[in-house]
Amino acid sequence: MSEVEGTIGIEAGIVTLEDLRREGRLPPPEVLERGVALPIIDCLEDIPCTPCRDVCPTGAITMKTMINRPEINWDACTGCTLCAQACPGLAINIVNYHFGRRSLRRPGYEDYALVMLPYELTPIPKRGEVVMVFDRAGRQLGEAEVFSVMKSPKFGTVMVGVLVPQSIAFEVKGVEVKRRWPGRR
């Protein structure tokens, strides 16, 4: 794993899985068993922002008032991905944890998850391309195959779906196309 340059910690913008767990943002195992895609919402502050709640067709995302952070009702979520496309902070990933075993059915991919990430950079990855995946601190977790690329005109944010081992499904937060790796000294 590459080293992190700069200050570590949530004060400097780096959220950890522990932070997410504490806020109830990681789906419990029985919810994962349902086999649907689920949003991982890295929005841990009370900020005046409501698009994820407003766009949710089932009311699974709620807020006390417009200035409070989102709360998720796992049982009501259908994994439609609209919240991830609408979130102005690009803070929501969609994780389909059992995608390999239940949907993909490709030999050797039984323990793979499909993670969909909002993406607003160039170039846009292509389906089948191998991209680099990163965690919340920018550490490279490895490489992954792009399984899906989706952009709805309504939201204008590209969702890049990558196949990653379940072990890092909740850690993946960024993707980057390999040919564009910037030279960093």
Binding site: T7, E11, I47, C49, I67, E120, T122, R136, A137
Partner: protein, 488 residues
Amino acid sequence: MGESMQDRRIWEHPVLSWDRGTPLSISYDGRSVTAYPNETVAAALYAAGVLAFTRSSYLHRPRGPFCMIGKCSQCMMRVDGVPHVRTCILPVEDGMVIESEDPHDSEYPTPARELRVERQELSYDLAIIGAGPAGLSAALAAAPSGMRIAVLDQSPYPGGQLVKQTHKFFGTKESFAGTRGVDIARNLISMLREYPNVELHTTTQVIGYYPPEGVLIAARAEGVGRYKLMYIRAGRYLVATGAMERTLAFPGNDLPGVMGAGAAQTLMNVFGIKPADDVLIIGAGNVGVIVAYQARQAGINVRAVIDILPKTAAYLVHAAKIRRLRIPIFLEHTIKGAYGDGAVESAVIYQVDRSFRPIEGTEKELKVDGVWMAVGLSPSVELLSKMGARIKFVPELGGYVPYRTKYMETSVRGVYVAGDASGIEEASTAMMEGKIAGLSAAISAGRGTDAMAEERRKAIEWLDLFRESPDYRRIKEGVSKVLIQEAA
């Protein structure tokens, strides 16, 4: 320094595209420079690699643009023989002759060419100064009343800072949440153009206000050295002049390449020009981290974002967006200096202790050709002050701000304020304040309707709730210090 001919224009971007049209040619100190019709002179020169625009008065040090929105004076050049022209707000014309000037030597105020000034007497029901989020929203809110409205802005394009924002906005439906700033500007402008009773004057700079008659004088530039002097008498005035970026004191802070984050945004996002290839950003608040992200979108390498405080003041989600892209944030760090021969070539940062004193031995040198300042803004209240509005220094609001009622009327009857000029906050609240001020101007003129009063009540309620949010409570506190209680 080497001002080699180059093209710093961006041709690939994930969010923005620039309709550049057919290139034209301008001359800069005797050489030919390619420009595009929608560019300003400063933008075109920057695209060609010109970094030093003028010189300081006493030490004759090279200076480059700091604000790119017509507020600083570091982009002044001689254009077609006219000295001291703000090139950042001057649209290019084919064949223009640009010369760098040393203000110390120039024969100001006698231009080499005759100025043509035409005087115009105008009257409106409402004159709005500033076509940013606050001014546009105010005009839009007041427009249905049928009032005759003029919106004046010194920039060649309306939209203020909205047009530079590639990210979707926070907030709620009422504040266009989920829409990118650049798209909000486009929507507001196109809605406004539906109203025949609203005039939008760009490249129009307000240069004075003369009590007691209350005449506002604005100079509308119609090419170099050609002005229309507008003598405006309006029933009501609404000042939405925005803010000015602050700078920091450090060795080399005047080197070309050191600029406000907003100036970098103007170049990158309005004109599609790379201000630098490698940058250091000072200030890890919302502006700093958002600009860092925009820089990456523009293909610029952000070497570091630094902040002297132990915690970023930015929204966590904005800061998180750059950390996962491996853009480092160094907290408790500040800049020691920027260095280079004629322009920035490197910068040194170091760590500070709890009393903000530099810690020896922590220096880091960064090879950068840009240093962008995101260290806060000061409200632009000069005009309000001139108009007689009572002003007070309120740290929570970013500096000197006017007293105002909850309807955004200042201490001068019939003069309203909205947006950053009333206190540094953000575009969403600027739009809401603009709406409140615009509606109030109409209502107080007896041109309001019950629906408008209801709309205003809702907007005030929205703003109130928004400011209950932890990041905005200090704004609420600041506003309470300059709130004029309405007489019953």
